[in-house]
């Protein structure tokens, strides 16, 4: 069958995630949107993996999850420390440095 539908879905998810990054202020939400984009990638990978009938895609998907997890660790650490020192998780508040 034609995997194109999966691709459309993935693309949609990816775009939603991306636009979320562009629109939302809260760092956590932004971060979650990025996770969503990663998931879109995973979906694509798995779909293609099936299409090509080899496992690479799925393997990569697993790696992606691991990486995502690692990112969560680091990301949360940073965001939390930022929140603690500013009492706000808004990415827009963090704009000391400009121009």
């Amino acid at each position: 069958m034609n995997p194109v539908n999966y691709l459309y879905l993935a693309a949609l998810l990816f775009t939603i995630g991306a636009s979320g990054v562009l629109i939302r202020r809260n760092a956590i939400v932004v971060f979650m949107c990025i996770e969503l984009m990663l998931n879109a990638c995973n979906l694509t990978l798995v779909a293609f993996s099936r299409m090509h009938g080899n496992l690479d895609g799925q393997i990569i998907a697993f790696f992606t999850m691991v990486v995502a997890a690692a990112e969560v660790v680091i990301g949360l650490a940073i965001i939390v420390s930022l929140f603690r020192s500013r009492h706000s998780a808004s990415v827009d508040d963090a704009s000391l440095m400009k121009l």
């Binding site: 562009l22 202020r25 827009d92 704009s95």
Partner: protein
């Protein structure tokens, strides 16, 4: 013998170097060194002269090449001298009169603490002037040409603390530079036409090129001559040049330097002969200046300025004569020499008068000086008679010949020129008489000056009077000596060539006419200044008089057109340079800064807008890639 030629120049040059570099320790001996070296140069000149007389007319020219000056591919300029009869005439005049004026200056400059430097400059002038007249090519002549210009600049501005003197000096140099421009262009033209600018080759090859070229060269040479010899339209500097010490006026601005133009034209005779149009212009210039100078001379109350006008006018005669071609060359030079004597004499006389009158120059404050300074009176008087062409004296012969030549030019041209020269003679008689009367006759008109001490006119010291006497002799006898048996003619003919032309009127008629106009001129002058006392303050006078007092307004013209215009031009250019040329550059820099400032705003510190730019970038990237494949 050739090797002596260099000595002519070397002696005064040495003097200049020693005196100018010597420093104060030479202050006491300086003037003697200068005078001796000038005299030495004169002696060398005489030796060479006698040697020359010993030879046949044709092989009298001597030639000495010192070294190759500017050897460049296809361009050979040598430092080489050529001494033929023409040069010799000038050498004797320059060194002779020069030496006399050195002697005169010893007395005249006695009280000036910078006398040493004055003599240094005088020697420098002699050297340059000698280079001018004995150079064997136009480029070396150019060196002398500008050299005398420099010397004249230094000497006119000798009393530099007087702003007027400094300005006059600058003016003289600048006007001369305009002339020099002509000379350099002429040399370039010669180079491109003949491939050389040595007298010999150029003057021989004139037949091989077009008349147009020669006319161009001729006109350029004439421009140079106008600058140096104060001919219209470049005459404006001579009057102001009288700011210089009087010996300078006598030597440079009467006897020698200002006549360099005549030398140039006569020397380049071959070129002018082949370019009638150029000759015509020369004649016109001469004629105009002749009258111009004469008129100015009539109106001036400053004795030196009056004489300056006269000089201008007399040189006008010479240029006119030179413009007549072979008919006039010899007489141009002859008048030049005689003029050298009597005009120098007149100036020295004027100097002597000023010396006795606390440097007063206004003739309206003189009067009746003949009692106080007899020697000056007599010598000045003889010079006066000579210049107005009193029968038997130098001026009579030389000027008469020119007038004849003018008629001999033939055709209407001849008549017009003849008329002009006659008119000039009349005016000359008028203004010289005027000077004579106002200075030495009538009642004493001098008052105590601002300081309260009234001048005590007295005769000048020997050192000054002796040169005057010698020159007076010259002014009396030179003309006769030259003319009897056409000595001078035969002497110069081999160099300049001669042609009697065809006079429509006989020589005697011309002479008679001259006498008549002379009497008229003198008479009018006596009527105006001899019979009734001269007013101590100048009357307003007619329009012409007032114009003449202002050098016929040409200074005003220069001021308005050149000076003002120039100032505006430079000022506006400075502005342009600052705003436009520089502005463009600074503008780009500024605009770059502005752009930077605007782009900088994009960096607004919001992570999300950064993300936007990334997203957009990605979109563009994809689009572009797909597009590339599509097309």
């Amino acid at each position: 013998m050739e090797n002596l030629i260099a000595l002519l120049v070397a002696a005064p040059l040495l003097g200049a170097a020693v005196l100018l570099c010597g420093g104060r320790r030479l202050d006491r001996a300086g003037h003697w060194i200068g005078t001796v070296l000038a005299a030495a140069s004169f002696v060398v000149g005489v030796v060479l002269f006698t040697d020359m007389l010993g030879k046949g007319a044709e092989d009298r020219a001597l030639h000495q090449k010192l070294f190759s000056w500017i050897p460049v591919e296809g361009f050979q300029a040598d430092v080489a001298f050529q001494l033929d009869q023409l040069s010799m005439t000038f050498v004797l005049l320059i060194t002779g009169v020069g030496t006399l004026i050195h002697i005169y200056s010893i007395g005249y400059m006695e009280h000036d603490e910078r006398r040493r430097r004055f003599f240094g400059y005088l020697n420098l002038f002699l050297a340059a002037m000698l280079i001018l007249v004995i150079a064997d090519n136009y480029l070396l002549l150019y060196v002398g040409w500008e050299g005398v210009g420099l010397a004249s600049y230094l000497l006119i501005g000798f009393w530099q603390h007087k702003p007027s003197a400094a300005t006059a000096a600058k003016k003289a140099f600048l006007v001369n530079r305009v002339g020099d421009m002509g000379l350099s262009i002429a040399i370039m033209l010669m180079f491109t036409t003949f491939g050389t600018f040595a007298f010999g080759p150029v003057l021989e090859a004139t037949g091989e090129t077009s008349e147009g070229k020669l006319t161009a060269i001729g006109l350029m040479l004439l421009l140079a001559a106008c600058g140096k010899s104060a001919q219209v339209p470049l005459q404006s500097w001579l009057g102001d040049a009288m700011e210089g010490p009087t010996p300078v006026s006598a030597l440079i601005h009467a006897a020698t330097m200002v006549t360099a133009g005549v030398y140039l034209i006569v020397r380049s005779g071959a070129i002018f002969n082949a370019a009638p149009d150029a000759q015509l212009v020369v004649v016109v210039v001469g004629a105009v200046t002749l009258l111009f100078g004469a008129i100015v001379g009539c109106a001036k109350d400053d004795i030196k300025k009056a004489l300056a006008g006269s000089t201008m006018s007399q040189i006008g005669y010479m240029i006119l004569a030179a413009g007549l071609g072979p008919i006039g060359y010899v007489f141009a030079i002859m008048h030049l020499v005689t003029h050298g004597f009597f005009k120098a004499g007149l100036f020295l006389g004027a100097g002597s008068v000023m010396h006795g009158m606390n440097d007063e120059v206004d003739m309206r404050k003189y009067g009746g000086l003949r009692k106080f300074m007899p020697v000056t009176f007599v010598t000045f008087g003889l010079g006066y008679l000579a210049i107005i062409g009193f029968p038997g004296l130098s001026g009579f012969f030389s000027k008469d010949k020119i007038i004849e030549a003018a008629f001999a030019k033939g055709g209407t041209e001849g008549w017009i020129l003849g008329a002009v020269t006659l008119l000039g003679a009349a005016i000359t008689a008028f203004y010289m008489t005027r000077v004579m009367l106002m200075t030495f006759f009538g009642e004493k008109r001098w008052q105590p000056d601002a300081g309260g001490h009234e001048p005590h006119p007295h005769e000048s010291p020997k050192s000054m009077t002796i040169p005057m006497i010698v020159l007076a002799f010259g002014s009396v006898f030179a003309g006769g000596f030259f003319s009897i048996g056409d000595r001078f003619l035969h002497w110069l003919e081999p160099v300049t060539g001669h042609d009697h032309g065809h006079a429509p009127v006989s020589a005697t008629t011309v002479t008679a006419a001259t006498m008549v106009v002379l009497v008229i001129g003198v008479a009018i002058a006596w009527a105006m200044y001899g019979r009734r006392p001269v007013p101590a303050v100048a009357p307003r006078g007619s329009l012409l008089t007032r114009a003449a007092r202002r050098d016929l307004l040409q200074d005003d013209f220069n001021h308005v057109v050149l000076v003002r215009g120039g100032e505006h031009l430079t000022r506006s250019l400075v502005y342009v340079d600052h705003t436009l040329v520089d502005g463009v550059v600074n503008g780009t820099a500024a605009s770059m800064g502005g752009l930077s400032g605007r782009l900088r705003k994009l960096q607004n510190g919001y992570a999300r807008s950064y993300a936007v730019s990334m997203f957009g970038g990605a979109a563009v990237l994809i689009a572009a890639t797909l597009l590339m494949r599509a097309v």
